[in-house]
Amino acid sequence: MEKEERSIYRHISGKKLIAFAIIPFVVLTAMILFLFSPIGQSFLNSGVPMPEVTIEKIEFQEGRIVAFIRNTGPVDITIAQADINDRIHLAAIEPSRSLPRLTEAQVIIPFPWNPAEPYEVGITTSDGVRFSKNVEAAAQVLTPNVEQVLLFAIIGAYVGIIPIMIGLLWYPFIRRLNTNKYNFFLSLTAGLLVLLGIDAVLESNEIISENVAAIFNGQVLIVMVVIVSFLVLLYASETLTQRAAKKSVSANYSTSSLSSSASTTSQQQQELIKPLAISLMIAIGIGLHNFGEGLAISAAVLLGKAALGTFLIVGFTLHNTTEGLAIVAPIAKSGKVMIRKLIVMGFIAGAPTIAGAWIGGFLYSPLAAVIFLSVGAGAIFQVVYSITSWISHTSSRNRKSLINASTIAGFAIGMLIMYTTGLLI
């Protein structure tokens, strides 16, 4: 059967194959052209297309308010007037008042705004429809100067790097635990991370629904990014583990003359590399997540939630200490003491907080924030998957089921800890 099929397809030339690939596109193009033609338009033109403007961001600059707007409706529009708190004001619009579909513009309104007061910015199109957006508390937009860059770096280090390093200090403690207790801590890590991932998805959804126009299909975007990043990281971590394992095996062959001893060594190496890869993936996942945290912190600072700032930082610090634990747990029992590798992973997990704080503070974009948070969520879910399979691996080695009192308790307590420390934020 297989041979027959193959012979049939061999008769088709390369040119014909290309033609077969192109034909559907030609038909599709013809159909689209027809729909846009006067004939197509005549029977499609029912209903009135409603214009739509999305105010994506509002910046408070010295003596002026700047609204970043986008035409997110189905038709081209012209912007006619601008208002603040529903009172008409003279304004400038750059680059132009006419906005074709999906294009953006900045509306600059000279206005002596007061810090910490709420404002509503309104944009009226040429057909008299008004679109508006509220800001809870006005705060001067940050310009990247040395002082601000340093401030955000310090906040990022406080929130990201230091607590993770503190968490890593559990390394010697976890090393000395028996398998049951160890599995408890691994499950605890999984519990922590699951809640963290869910939190990132919810956070993305909140940003999407408040700041990004419906036209971008925000929720679908989140789901897509989470799944794709999960799959990509899963593939990456598997490849990483396999490659590292192969390398160590071949290295062992060359150094050892006895094949039996080589196989046992490779077994040990496997036991070492797998958890290291998991820890690294956890560090990367947490890093992406912390990037999102950095965005959130600087956004909070930007929104003028100054009083919240300190509490927020304390909250994140406590919360992130548990992330250090998550990195430490998989490699704790792997025999070798790997202080240097741990510190590197601490940085991988923590340093993105600083980058996030900078980006959130100086060039905040809701869409970018959502994508980073979703990638972080995907990464975290991948890590949870890895941990779970690692627990099941160590459990089966000890002839135990994955589902037992210590893993379930660990998972539940992990979520509870994450929830409780999350309350502080």
Partner: protein, 368 residues
């Protein structure tokens, strides 16, 4: 309000000077109030005050202000004066009601407000009404008349005609408007105007003008987006109404504002005699502030002692800041006399000189 006044004066002059110097769309954005930042833009200016061209505007408020229609006059055999008017309703046009804002207007004779009808008490009024619209319309005139002339139960079909006939009584100032259902829709789209009945013994001579307070709900959320006097927001800020020092000014004021329960008229640096509904020759009040609900009206009489720019606006500041404000320019009667056209020119010149100084100042600030 004083600060706002100065600000708007400066801004209105500044605007015109910017336009005079540079007709391109790029420009400088100043602001209403002193102390606002000025900025130079490479983009477009969203200017709520100046029209690019008056062609598509719903009305010329300066022309409307002092335009009284006395009708085609003839005397009947019994000596009664007959005044014939023609009003044509339409509801399919889209006009510019504020710079850059286009709205489906419903009008009498193509403008909002419709033409001002004027007669003397006891005249016979005949209004030939033609409905050129796509909906039923009518004319409901305030005043005393027969039920069948009230324009409430007899809707005129699209393409239909009707002749309203009644005696002008009593003297006073009245609104007329379409009375078809949904009433709110017909009025808020613009089907209204002013009807004045003079007493048989005329009021003392004065510089007379009509002012209709209205609004536009351009996004149909039963809240007005724009407030105006005589149809276009801020119009008299850019084009101050020129009046003479010590000369009696008489304003026939009508409130047709839909949706908001009240509206008001506040005059700066002066007081006026208020004749509520204009149905009496003795003033009701000496004030600088009158509040009216929809359909209420009155006659305001005042003189300005001192020359200069004076603001008038709704003292409901929300309405003021959405367009219901204007200026009187009181000409100095002691200034060297010339013919009236020159007086206008002089004023314009003054303001341009002033504005040029002002814009230099602006440019300096910008360059800093």
């Amino acid at each position: 309000m004083a600060i706002l006044t100065t600000g708007f004066v400066l801004s209105s002059f500044n605007q015109s000077s910017v336009k005079a110097q540079d007709h391109s769309k790029k420009g400088i954005v100043g602001e209403h109030t002193p102390g606002y930042n000025l900025l130079e833009t490479v983009g477009d200016v969203l200017d709520p005050i100046s029209f690019n061209s008056a062609e598509k505007a719903i009305i010329d408020p300066m022309h409307y202000l002092r335009e009284f229609n006395y009708g085609r006059v003839s005397t009947l055999s019994d000596g009664v004066v007959l005044r014939e008017f023609t009003l044509i309703a339409s509801d399919n046009k889209v006009k510019e009601i504020s710079p850059g804002i286009f709205y489906n207007v419903w009008t009498f004779n193509g403008t909002i407000p419709g033409p001002t009808l004027r007669a003397t008490e006891g005249d016979l009024i005949r209004i030939n009404f033609i409905n050129n619209g796509s909906k039923f319309h009518s004319i409901h005139t305030h005043g005393i008349h027969k039920a069948e002339m009230d324009g409430v139960f007899e809707g005129i079909a699209p393409g239909g005609k009707f002749t309203y006939e009644f005696i002008a009584q009593p003297f006073g100032v009245f609104p007329y408007h379409c009375h078809m259902q949904p009433l709110e829709e017909h009025i808020s789209h613009g089907l209204y105007g002013v009807y004045i009945v003079d007493p048989k013994t005329p009021r003392p001579p004065a510089d007379e003008m009509v002012m209709v307070m209205n609004g536009y709900d351009t996004d149909f959320d039963t809240e007005n987006n724009f407030y105006t006097v005589n149809g276009i927001p801020y119009y008299y800020m850019e084009h101050p109404i020129q009046i003479e020092q010590d000369r009696l000014v008489r304003v026939y004021l009508v409130n047709m504002l839909e949706f908001d329960p009240i509206n008001n008229f506040h005059l700066h640096a002066n007081m006026y005699q208020l004749y509520r509904s204009g149905t009496n020759l003795v003033p009701d009040e000496y004030t600088d502030m009158v509040t009216m609900s929809q359909g209420e009206r009155g006659i305001l009489e005042f003189k300005y002692k001192f020359p200069g720019q004076y603001m008038f606006h709704a003292h409901k500041t929300e309405f003021a800041e959405k367009g219901w404000m204007g200026l009187f320019f009181v000409k100095d009667s002691k200034a060297p006399q010339s013919n009236s056209d020159d007086v206008n020119d002089n004023n314009t010149t003054t303001s341009i000189v002033y504005s040029q100084n002002r814009s230099k100042f602006n440019l300096e600030e910008v360059s800093k």
